[in-house]
């Protein structure tokens, strides 16, 4: 090695400093090349759309394309006029059907979430207690339906519960019932559809927390004379709370706005708010009212989404 490359020489120290500065500038540039594309793409195509929906919910229905009025009007002498129409929101309050379907959606999503939890918790518990090799297979079995088509699964369920479907045929043949049960086009069918479709979303976060559970805590609880059911309530249940919350949010939030399930399995009485939005949009071509319904759903979901986000951020920081 020659003296000129030794770090003690002032010239090379300067060179190294310049190089480092260049490198850090390049690094900073590289950072933003990675951060900006997804950030900008999602802001434009996920976040900004909500602003447009909010704006159009104050517009008026119009006969031209697109079928809503402009909030801003430019008159010839350069005056900009702003017309805000609160009529769409007022309309949501005057027609009972909105309040009824709003409440019906909350009720349906709530009880389906409870049903998912009651079925999903023991399933997740059993998987978490299985051996490592079996765990992987069981998880694959749970995830596989989620990979196959959601739409086709709802359709498959219809094949079971329809009036002449397998369930009724089997029950009639067994002599349990003498008349076919009316399951299709009832609230029960909608509950069943939601539990059927969203069950994997409940099980996976539950499994994730139950798997991490420290068994020594349970043993300690047993050593101290606690019966298994009490250990479960005092130890397992509180520790699996993050999974319960995450799973419940993953079911409750999308279920509120569910359209396909009530539309295919429910009857005319099972008006969920998502179905109403769809009808307002596709059948009545009333885009401003549909936007107002969307805003109303978002107001309802803001709390649960905040809880879900909070949980997610906390999970990642750990």
């Amino acid at each position: 090695m020659t003296a000129s490359t030794s770090p003690s020489s002032p010239r090379s120290a300067e060179l190294v400093a310049t190089r480092l500065r260049q490198a850090s500038r390049l690094n900073r540039l590289g950072r933003w090349l990675i951060i900006l594309p997804p950030l900008v793409f999602l802001v434009v195509f996920f976040l900004v759309p909500f602003a447009f929906a909010f704006k159009i919910s104050f517009a008026q229905t119009a006969v031209h394309i697109p079928p809503f009025s402009d909030l801003l009007s430019h008159s010839r002498d350069g005056v900009v006029g702003l017309s805000i129409n609160l009529g769409n929101y007022a309309y949501l309050f005057t027609d009972d059907v909105y309040a009824i379907s709003y409440l019906y959606s909350i009720k349906t999503a709530f009880f389906s979430t409870i049903a998912c939890l009651l079925l999903g918790y023991p399933m997740a518990y059993a998987i978490a207690r299985a051996s490592k090799a079996n765990q992987n297979i069981l998880l694959l079995i749970i995830i596989l339906p989620f990979w196959t088509s959601f739409l086709l699964r709802v359709y498959a369920l219809e094949g079971i519960i329809r009036d002449g479907g397998l369930l009724n045929s089997a029950l009639l043949w067994l002599g349990v019932i003498h008349q076919p049960l009316q399951i299709m086009r009832t609230s029960f069918a909608v509950y069943l559809g939601i539990v059927y479709s969203y069950l994997p979303f409940m099980i996976l976060p539950l499994f994730a927390t139950l798997e991490k559970l420290d068994n020594t805590l349970l043993e300690a609880s047993a050593d101290l004379g606690s019966p298994p059911w009490k250990s479960f309530i005092d130890v397992t249940l509180p520790l699996s709370m993050p999974g319960i919350i995450a799973g419940s949010m993953l079911v409750f939030i999308p279920a509120i706005g569910e359209f396909v399930i009530p539309s295919l399995l429910g009857g005319p009485d099972n008006l969920m708010i998502g179905r109403l939005l769809w009808d307002e949009f596709f059948n009545n071509h009333d885009w401003p009212v549909a936007s107002a319904v969307a805003v109303a759903i978002l107001v309802l979901l803001a709390g649960p989404i905040a809880i879900y986000q909070h949980y997610n951020v906390r999970e990642l920081e750990q």
């Binding site: 950030l39 999602l42 447009f52 088509s149 079971i160 002449g164 298994p228 936007s291 990642l316």
Partner: protein, 279 residues
Amino acid sequence: MKLPAVSFSLTMLLIGIAFLYIPMLVLIGYSFNASPLVSLWGGFSVKWYASLLHNRQILDAALLSFEIALVASTGAVLLGLLAATALVRFRHFRGRLLLTGMINAPLVMPEIITGITQLLLFVSMAQLIGWPHRGLTTIILSHIVFCGAYAAVTIQSRLIAVDRSLEEAARDLGATPFRAFWDVTLPIIMPALASSWLLSFTLSLDDVVISSFVSGPSASTLPMVIYSKVKLGVSPEINALATLIIAAVGTCVVVAGYTMRRAERERERDLQMAARAST
């Protein structure tokens, strides 16, 4: 003492799995029913598969959906990889919380909300700048958003587990940050990239609500055609189509899962051997 709880949860597990699978198995059975009536077994037949092959509407829609899914899932993996890298590698930057929110929110946001808001954006954009035209482009853009969210979360959880010292070793040996990431980290997270591509592909191929909103009158994707047929009642051709889709997805997932686990095991063995060799 522990037995009752375990056997209860095991029973529930079996019931739950039966609940998840019986409808699909019955659907597969119906697809081979010669009788078009669901309540009647008319003998074994593959005629619905044959008539499926002659249904132009379904074939055209399937082609369109495949095209959309190919582009959308590739875009989604790119988006997801960048977002995950940003979130895992850079702890502090402006917009970090925003980015976290935007990759988690699409996972739970009701599709009907995403659909209508995105449509309103596209319509307003088309008015202002004359782009995008409703159809293929808008469906792909929408699908990249929600599939990208799934991809980002999948890749993120994998990337967190990657040992940074491997990349640092490559950097010490003179590799540029990009080169080190490309040669060292990318192969390690490849299974996550592959599975998120596959997941994005099936999610895109399945979406009916968002596509219905943003597609406009011109394009009808496969799920849109299926939905309109199913809405009218049971269709034997849809049974056949459903069987084909379930079989294809099932095979892909099982084969991919098996290959990935084998690759994973080989990698772990290599790492162990390398560790042993270095000590």
